[in-house]
């Protein structure tokens, strides 16, 4: 019995392939949006994990030379013989590849990327035969240097070999760059300074630093992914409901002919499952395509922003296959649950006319209005009180859901007002008709609103980030030229060359220490107008710069202030000495705390830390000639001289990449929302004819009716857009002021971008127009006989 039923159900698609197409495409688009965002996230995350595991960056304490120069490997042997479990690392650039030499017998277990090595490899690795394990993208550059084996587990652009081999290849025979400190140490050991005074210990970072930095970007993408999921659910719901409405008559006939309800529902579930799997596969593949098109940009964005390596090549990961298929299947089933339930409840004898998608009666509308109001109230309360990441996201969810539920109620109200205030009969009919269509269109309009709100929110956030960052660059990169020196000798050469040619030489020196429990970089700044003029303080005492110059004051960054809840007027200890906080400054994107004290106090507290970078203030016109003069007169390489304008340009280029990704995702979301509208209108079109026939009979031409249909959809889209704007801004505010603070400890100022919003609104209108065009044209071409039939068929 299953077979004839399934055949009958499937014959519908064979007869009406267009409906099958819209359903499949709808499902596939929703899946694609979801899996595309997920793919970008997953790919980037996986790349960080590899990057983080290569060299266990951040996992282990390290001993690094104070002077930054490679040191003799006997230091390693001496430390081992003194009871320190350390492991040597030598690293350097070879043909553009980062080559890392490790010593596998002493390296802490989690450090090694050569898990896959078989014993033969390892013999070669140890015995100095030149075995190199390299990331797949690094293999070519190393060919001819030994036996190079591609290894997916190694970070992009990186290769790993035995320390002995690496020393040879890098020309660092007998030298090492740093020592990794095993977390397991014997119970007694002398202090490092006794045996290796030239080394200083660099504490392990809690959590990979790269990960923390890039998390900010990924949180945004994740939020976008969630929104796209919601939008996707709406569209899937629309697509499924359409499929069910269109086959209502057939379902009735099948039941009348003796198909048991349970069997029928079961077969329909089976059919949906099959459809979901096919569409899910198509959608996931589309997502892959989207991701692979966007990923080069994302990779560039992350590399530029944070120096994190993301492989450009996208790997088809099982995890997002599974997640894509799961979203297609779960989304389909969630969306289908209501339709199946209605099929189950549908009396066999009820009318075979397609009904509206969601019949929101007057009473339902009121309930919905109250629920929406309650959710919005929860959102507002949380906005005032939310402290953590979870409550931030709950607030976002309440806001979005509340707004979505409120939309039909608000639209009905507005349309009611318009209807009441129109004099013209056609106008009255137009508004009344629009109101009547509202329940059926509301899901699609909700999807459109959420899509627009998401786009407004994300655009605002990204643009605000950009503006803030530009301001931040102006503040931080105030000097015209930055120069890094290797040692004191170079520094002295530099002073000799520049004296008299620059307005000021500002040393940049820092040390690391925990302040109030937060890992903090402490800077010793010279008292100079550069800082006084350019630094924006979020909070400040009466004369912050004077207090710092006087030696007793300290400025701290927002991260440190928020994390330790210390503000202006509080005291902190730096290297054991008390300072009073005189100001708090914005420090965007930095995961660490930062504190600024006077350079003389700094020199007294950290006598070992000598300035290695200098900012030079001079006429921007003279930067070029001065660079050349320094290059000729000192041993400082050009690479160590950085033109401030260059940094700014590079930083801004990175943001423009981010914009590419964001706008591509914007267009995609709107496409999906437009598709939802299209499908709702197609569903409606069958029942539109009887509704429009009286208007036609009373003298409106079919072309007029078609135009009015188009106009009505566009008007509803505009109205939806008007409601979406404040929602999007609320979304952006929540992301910037609540979620970002909870996740990263700094708050981004929010800026408004009316032109962007107008463009977005235009795009949304275009999407709605395109979606409504075809149904309207179809309507305009409805043969008069079909309209006449409405009257003759009336029973």
């Amino acid at each position: 019995m299953i077979w004839p039923v399934l055949t009958a159900l499937l014959s519908h698609w064979r007869r009406y392939p267009l409906q099958l197409f819209t359903l499949t495409v709808g499902l596939a688009l929703a899946t694609a949006l979801w899996s595309g965002v997920q793919a970008i996230n997953a790919e980037a995350r996986a790349s960080y994990d590899i990057a983080a595991s290569t060299l266990g960056e951040g996992q282990f304490d390290r001993l690094v030379p104070r002077d930054g120069q490679p040191f003799d490997q006997t230091v390693f042997v001496d430390l081992r013989r003194a009871g320190w479990r350390v492991s040597p690392v030598v690293q350097g650039d070879l043909n553009g590849i980062r080559l890392i030499g490790i010593e596998p017998l002493t390296a802490p277990g989690a450090l090694l990327p050569i898990n896959a090595a078989n014993s033969a490899d390892l013999t070669a690795f140890l015995a100095g035969n030149g075995l190199i394990r390299a990331a797949p993208d690094a293999v070519a550059a190393l060919s001819g240097l030994g036996q190079v084996i591609a290894d997916d587990a190694i970070a992009p652009g990186t290769a790993i070999t035995d320390i002995g081999v690496a020393q040879g290849l890098l020309g660092k025979a007998g030298l090492v760059d740093l020592l990794i400190v095993d977390p397991v140490q014997p119970m007694h050991q002398p202090s490092v300074s006794e045996f290796a005074p030239e080394l200083s210990i660099q504490a392990a970072r809690s959590g990979a630093e790269v990960g923390r930095l890039t998390d900010s970007f990924h949180l945004n993408l994740t939020a976008f992914g969630l929104l796209s999921f919601v939008v996707g659910l709406f569209i899937v719901h629309g697509a499924i409901a359409l499929a069910f409405e269109q086959r209502r008559a057939m379902v009735r006939t099948l039941r009348a002919l003796g198909v048991p309800l349970r069997l029928l529902v079961g077969v329909m579930v089976l059919e949906l499952l099959g459809l979901a799997l096919v569409s899910g596969a198509i959608g996931t593949a589309m997502g892959y395509l989207i991701a692979s098109l966007l990923l080069p940009d994302v990779a560039a964005t992350l590399r530029g922003l944070y120096g994190a390596d993301v492989a450009n090549g996208l790997q088809f990961r099982p995890v997002w296959w599974v997640s894509g298929m799961a979203i297609a299947v779960c989304g389909t089933m969630i969306a289908a649950a209501g339709a199946l339930w209605r099929i189950g409840k549908m009396p066999i004898l009820s009318g075979a006319q397609p009904r509206a998608l969601a019949l929101t009666g007057r009473r339902n509308g009121q309930v919905q209005g109250w629920v929406a109001l309650a959710l919005l109230a929860v959102g507002c309360v949380l906005a005032a009180t939310a402290a953590g990441l979870v409550s931030g996201f709950v607030m976002l969810a309440a806001l979005l859901l509340g707004a979505a539920l409120a939309l039909p109620v608000l639209l009905a109200w507005v349309l009611g007002l318009l209807q009441a205030s129109s004099r013209d009969v056609v106008a009255q009919w137009f508004w009344a008709d629009a109101r009547q269509q509202l329940p059926a269109l509301s899901l699609a309009l909700m999807a459109l609103m959420l899509a627009m709100a998401a786009n407004v929110g994300v655009s605002t956030m990204v643009s605000s980030f950009r503006l803030t960052f530009v301001g931040f660059l102006d503040q931080r990169l105030a000097s015209e030229l930055y120069i890094a020196v290797d040692d004191q000798q170079q520094a002295d050469q530099l002073f000799g060359v520049v004296s008299g040619h620059v307005d000021a030489v500002l040393p940049i020196q820092s040390a690391r220490e925990a302040i109030a429990g937060v890992p903090t970089e402490i800077y010793g700044n010279r008292d100079h107008a550069t800082y006084r003029d350019n630094w924006l303080l979020l909070q400040s005492g009466p004369a912050p710069w004077d207090a710092v110059a006087g030696g007793s004051g300290v400025l701290i960054n927002e991260q440190l202030a928020r994390r330790s809840n210390i503000w202006v007027g509080d005291q902190i200890l730096v290297a054991g000495e008390a300072f009073e906080i005189q100001g708090v400054y914005g420090d965007y994107g930095n995961p660490l705390g930062q504190a600024v004290i006077d350079e003389h106090r700094f020199a007294a507290l950290f006598p070992d830390e000598l300035p290695r970078r200098f900012g030079l203030r001079l006429d921007p016109e003279k930067v070029g000639p001065l660079r050349e003069r320094i290059g000729q007169a000192t041993s400082i390489p050009q690479a160590n001289m950085i033109n401030q304008a260059g940094i700014k340009a590079a930083s801004l280029a990175v943001f423009d990449r981010t914009f590419t990704v964001t706008s591509a995702l914007n267009v995609l979301t709107l496409t999906v929302a437009g598709f939802a509208i299209l499908m709702s209108l197609l569903t409606l079109s069958a029942m539109r004819v009887p509704q429009l026939a009286p208007a036609w009979a009373m003298g409106l031409t079919r072309a007029q009716l078609g135009r009015l249909e188009l106009l009505r959809t566009c008007f509803l889209a505009v109205l939806t857009g008007v409601f979406a704007l404040p929602l999007g801004l609320a979304l952006a505010w929540a992301l910037l002021a609540i979620v970002n603070v909870a996740a990263f400890g700094w708050r981004l100022p929010m800026f408004l971008f009316p032109v962007d919003y107008a463009v977005l609104g235009g795009l949304a209108l275009l999407a709605a127009f395109l979606a409504a065009l075809w149904p309207a044209v179809r309507l305009a071409r409805t043969p008069p006989s079909a309209l006449l039939q409405v009257f003759s068929n009336e029973r």
């Binding site: 013989r81 017998l105 390892l122 100095g128």
Partner: protein, 344 residues
Amino acid sequence: MNVRFVFLLLLWPLAGWAQGFAGLGASDPSFARPQRGYEFQFPRDHGAHPDYRIEWWYVTANLTGPDGTAYGVQWTLFRTALGTGDAVGWATPQVWMGHAALTTPDAHHVEERLARGGIGQAGAQGNPYAVWIDEWEMAGSFDAPRLRASGVDFAYDLALSAKGPIVRHGDNGYSVKSAVGQASHYYSQPFYEVAGRLMLPMGEVAVTGQAWLDREWSSQPLAADQSGWDWVSLSFDDGSKLMGFQLRGAEVFTSATLIRPDGQAIPLANGDLSLQPLELAHVADRNVPVTWSVRVPDHGIDVSIVALNADAWMGTSVPYWEGPVQVRGSHSGVGYLEMTGYTP
């Protein structure tokens, strides 16, 4: 799988039982082979023999605290050559592995170290006498070395002092390991007296006692079918000592040396020594005999040995059991028991 584990599969293959315990049965003709009739040359032979594939310096000590508590200390340095040749620096084929253990009646502390030869992190030389890996060392003079090791939760620092002569096992130090002729060079210094201190999580303990050094090198000491061994070194209260082992294979092969109080060595032939398990303990997911009957009927020795701490499992890259024992029966005394090749 940990890389180090993979590495040790190669060096001392755990899975390769068919090749004898820890691969000691595999043969490689390019390494030097022990020769019958070789005369030890000291102090040179106290140092490393890189032409041979494997070598070890093996110290076990039975110690007593001020309150009479018994302790055991193990200090071992293994050397293995991944290949022949005399490359220097990181390219050397020499790899070193150190094991240190400290056994109390209710605890057993273990630490392992690995090192490459060629850069000074580990090594062994006869003159001046020094055997070391990282901060662990046995150094000073062969007759009075200082022995030190430390781990996460223990450390020891012992002064050793030889009160008797070096003992050569087998045929003047040529020790046969199987019926088909596998052999090693093998000598001992079983007469060390010890004074020093143990650092335990609870604090420091001053100890005295005796220690036994085994020195052995070879390129293939086991036959391919031998899967492990049971080895004892016993010091009887009357001043005599017994070193004995059995190699478990298709047939059990035994070898032993009875040492008179004056240091005279009496080599015992295959079959003269009988080692019979009396009691098993469940250790590290396997059953390991921790009480044995040890008999040398020709010399009136019939004792049982009981582990001080049955849990003396060496959970190192190559796992085995090694711990101090108490001797009861025809003779009484103390000693060390080592058992390899017991699988879960």
